[in-house]
Symmetry: C2
Subunit: 210 residues, 2 copies
DNA sequence: GACATTATACCGACCAGTCGGTATACATCT
DNA sequence: AGATGTATACCGACTGGTCGGTATAATGTC
């Protein structure tokens, strides 16, 4: 995906946003300095404050940029091809597991990291992070709702609630991965999530009583 | 529980640690200043650096203090009384859900918040947070292992993995609660976790095929 | 030449950490 | 008992450096 073609944008602005994604995911929002973002982006400080009124404004813009990027990334993923909506949901989970590669800051979530720090101190960033997570969950929610319809599952939960739960598991898996410095523990949690959804949608009559 | 009697400790030191718990859970580690901790603790700055060599050292001490406090808190919880280990596990989950009350910073996890920020920049704090999470999970792991034995469940996962998964769900639930400013979404995720464990340990033959 | 963008120099606030010093408790020696 | 030494606890002014943000000049670009 060529990120430059998503929206026309001044070069310095996009370079600053790209820098923000990588630096903030590594060090968090507060520990990230404007000077470092400029250095990584190869841009002077004046450009930063030309494009973003404050550091907080950059935080909001970074969350929105993250939403755009991940939206396009998941929209292009192969799991949407399945006919059965349940296969699309499980395909999403498998896809999330498959991209747990490389170093920890490379597969963790920008908005999950940011919202932990600023949820009480900066309502604008908090709202932008919430919007990003909720928009992502909403796409999955559609498939879950369809799968619940198709497989006649209605027991005690909503499509929205289950979609948000998947995000909770992923965000929590990232925290464990950060604590242990290892992606394996995150993958194991995603496995549990997959098993849960499989059990939820498994028709009781066909359960193997071995 | 009288925290003062857990370990003898200079008054200023304990007041600083208590201040650290509440301030860091609200604003994160980086945004918390030594001056603010001193102000909240009602202690002079000199005392801070008498008890903690650096701010990072306070972070490590806060994680260890958190481990002590939560360890005692959960050890005293009522769910341990159940005879069936599975009831203890489900009792733990119910207890976790029951304490999701009050404002968000009051029920979220100090070490989960801290490790997100510093996992790359401060290995000492990262390790202390990992130790806190892992020790907590280990207590639950014992009950899970016993429940797996008792209920003859061995399918595709380990007691350790499931114990860590519960922590992932809880940590992720906290992130969603922070993003939405609402404890309800966290409780909903804990409900899903409970349902998952129930399904895992439900004997296939007795499943209700309604 | 008008306008958006980028670069450089700079400022005031703030922050982690230092330093000199006081207070208290408890030994040990005379 | 009183004097002396010593370790811990606590205090608050100070400092060197960093950070977010500003002012202004220089560039492109139509």
């Amino acid at each position: 995906m060529d990120t430059a073609t998503l929206h026309p944008m001044a070069a310095a602005r996009r370079k600053l946003l790209e820098a923000a994604l990588s630096v903030i995911r590594s060090k968090g929002f507060e520990a990230t300095t404007v000077d470092e973002l400029c250095a990584v982006a190869g841009v002077a400080k004046g450009s930063f404050f030309h494009h973003f009124k404050t550091k907080q404004a950059l935080g909001v813009a970074a969350a929105e940029y993250w939403s755009e990027l991940t939206g396009a990334f998941f929209a292009a993923a192969p799991y949407h091809r399945h006919d059965d909506p349940l296969d699309r949901v499980l395909g999403y989970i498998d896809f999330r597991k498959a991209i747990l590669t490389g170093k920890v800051p490379e597969f963790t979530c920008l908005v999950g990291t940011m919202v932990q720090e600023v949820y009480e101190t900066c309502p604008e960033i908090r709202a932008a992070c919430d919007a990003s997570i909720s928009a992502h969950a909403a796409k999955l929610e559609a498939d879950i709702a369809e799968a619940m319809e198709r497989h006649a599952v209605h027991a005690g939960f909503t499509a929205e609630g289950l979609a948000l739960h998947t995000q909770a598991v992923l965000q929590g898996a990232f925290i464990l991965a950060k604590a242990k410095g290892d992606a394996g523990v995150a993958a194991a949690s995603v496995d549990h999530l997959r098993r849960y959804i499989t059990l939820l949608f498994q028709p009781p009559k066909e359960r193997n009583p071995s």
